[in-house]
Each structure stands twice: as C-alpha cells, then as structure tokens.
C-alpha cells in the first residue's frame, strides 16, 4: 500500500527537516504544504526529500491539510494518508501502529490519542482545555473520544475522499470529527506519543483560541 504523510508547515525551518526524516522512514512519500512561511521552511523541506506545495497566501493548517490530501490522492496515488506535525511533537515510529487498522481493513480512519499512549508533561490548564474539548466534541459530533485535538491521524484513500475541509484554521480538527460522524466512517483510536518542549508549548494554542474555533464552526454551520 502506498503511504503518504502530509506535513502542514508554517515557519518551521528549524524543525521541518527532522520531522521529514523521522516520518520518511515509515512512509513512501512525504508531502510538505508550506503555508506561506516567511523563513526557509520550503528550501529545507525540499532538501530533506519532501514534495513541497506552496500556498502563496497563508490559509491555515486546515487548508494546508486539505491541499496535501488533494495532491496525495490525485497526483501520488496514495492509499493511506497520514497527518503529521512539522514541529517534532509526533514520532514517526508511531506511524506503523497508527495505520495498521487501515491496512488490515478494520477501519477507515485512525485517530491518535495521547491519553491512550504517552504524553509528555502536559500543563494543567492545557489538560483542562483538552478535557473540555472532549465534551465539546461529544456535543457537536456525538463521538466520545479520549483525545479530540490530536493532529496525528490516518485515513484510507476512500475516507480521505469523503473528507472535505472548509475550516481553514484550527476548527478543522472539530470539522474532521464531525464529518467522520456524519458520514458514519469506521474509526479507531490508537495510542501515540506526543512530545512537549518549551518551544512547542509556547507555540501552542492559547485558551482564547477555543472561542475562535467555536465562532468558525458556527459560521461554517450557517454556510452549509
């Protein structure tokens, strides 16, 4: 099966090469979607052996993931697609276990869960927000998951074709879950390790972001 990993990236020149190297050991192709970075992310990604798609205007992580999925399915013939972060929080060695249910035909979607696996020391406020997100997801999608804001996911080709992200920014995580539920896709949660560093924690979403996510989801509902 052809396995393609999608890495959305914005201003990650310091970490993109390591992330590509980490993931490439377990997949057939790596696609980096450079979301109009201001630094050398694009050049470093090319040198590291990834395909690079460049957004001429910054559109957000959700938009970058959809761009990558379109390219992977239409141009590379991907049969399994993995979402992977550019900042080194995820481990490439988790990919085989993540995609195993899809490869074995047991599921169409595999969702990584740090609470089933190992998570670095998560600050209390971040942990609280993640738990609140679990409740929010249950209310909006009916899915009861252990980790609803984990960008480590995998899709079969068919499942990737059913997903269409309209949320450009962070609300895409909720939108993916809503579409999995609405289209009754078979999914499983798989334990994964998420590594935190002072850098990634500082870069992570602020608490106020949840209001932006809720507003974006509300607008999306009205435009359907």
């Amino acid at each position: 099966m052809k396995i393609v990993v999608i890495i959305p990236a914005y201003d990650e020149e310091g970490r993109i090469a390591a992330s590509i190297s980490d993931a490439s050991a377990f997949v057939d192709e790596v696609v980096v979607v450079d979301d109009c970075s201001r630094d050398q992310t694009r050049a470093r990604a090319l040198s590291a052996g990834a395909y690079v798609l460049s957004h001429l205007i910054n559109r957000g992580q959700g938009a970058a993931l959809q761009t990558g999925m379109d390219f992977a399915t239409k141009n590379l013939g991907a049969e399994v697609i993995v979402h992977f972060d550019a900042d080194g929080q995820m481990q490439g060695s988790d990919i085989p276990a993540l995609i195993a249910p899809i490869v074995d035909g047991l599921a169409e979607v595999a969702l990584g869960s740090r609470f089933l696996g190992r998570a670095g020391r998560i600050p209390f406020t971040r942990r609280l927000l993640l738990k609140a997100a679990i409740l929010f997801t249950f209310i909006t999608s009916g899915l009861w998951l252990t980790d609803t804001h984990n960008g480590f996911r995998a899709f079969s080709r068919e499942a990737a074709g059913k997903i269409r992200l309209t949320q450009n920014r962070m609300a895409h995580a909720s939108e993916i879950l809503e579409q999995i539920s609405a289209k009754k896709m078979r999914y499983v949660e798989v334990p994964v390790t998420i590594r935190y560093s002072a850098e990634t924690l500082a870069k992570g979403q602020k608490s106020s972001a949840m209001f932006r996510v809720a507003w974006d989801l509300f607008k999306g509902t009205l435009l359907k």
């Binding site: 790596v30 395909y51 690079v52 798609l53 957004h55 001429l56 559109r59 761009t67 390219f71 435009l223």
Partner: protein, 118 residues
C-alpha cells in the same frame, strides 16, 4: 429647523450619489430602488416626525425615536451578519484558488528531480 435642513440636504446628496452609482452600473436596479425608497423615507420622517410616534404607538413602543433606534439596530446587526457570511464565503473561495495553484505547481524533492533529469 436647522437640523431638518441639514438632514434633508444630506438625504438628497445621498440620493444623488446612488443615482450616479446606478448610472455607472455599480449599483443594481434592485439596490438603487431600495436606497431611493430609504432616503425618501428619511426625508418624510424628518419633515413629519410625528409619523414615527404614530407607528411606535401602533407597535406598542414608547416613542417614535425609540422605534427608529430599535429598527436601525436590527437592520445593522442583520447587515453585519450578512457581511460576515459573505466574508467567510470569499475566504473559502480564496483558499480554493490558493490550493489549486499549489497543487498545480508542486516542487519535487531534490533527489527525485535529479533522477528525472538523468
């Protein structure tokens, strides 16, 4: 009296601008009609403010001025909502355009580009 003169002058000026924009085909006939009716209503209300009091009484609101404020707020909030929806739609269309350009111009990794050229 002065305020009435100022408001009527402004309303006539606004109607003139709408007419000019319509002739330049920057405003549709529908919106042209809507704005003309709106500014005519403003002129009528400025000349006969008691009309708003009559409307307010009929609707169970205290004063004509209160009615004007309530209606204006409702219209403004609805306009803001419509603007937000239109902006969101434009945002999505822009993303689709950016995506199309990105997918149609992928860059191959350096090693694969070398192999293709060999």
């Amino acid at each position: 009296m002065w305020i009435q003169a100022i408001l009527i002058t402004f309303a006539l000026f606004a109607m003139g601008r709408v007419f000019v924009q319509h002739r330049a085909q920057k405003v549709s006939s529908g919106w042209f009609g809507t704005w003309i009716v709106f500014w005519l209503a403003v002129i009528v209300v400025v000349l006969r403010p008691s009309l708003t009091d009559m409307a307010a009484t009929a609707l169970g609101v205290g004063r004509g001025a209160d009615l004007v404020v309530y209606v204006s707020l409702a219209v403004l909030f609805y306009s803001l909502f419509r603007l937000a929806m239109r902006q969101e739609q434009h945002n999505r269309e822009l993303t689709e355009l950016v995506r199309k350009m990105a997918v149609e111009h992928p860059e191959m990794p350096n090693d694969k580009a070398r192999m293709t050229n060999e």
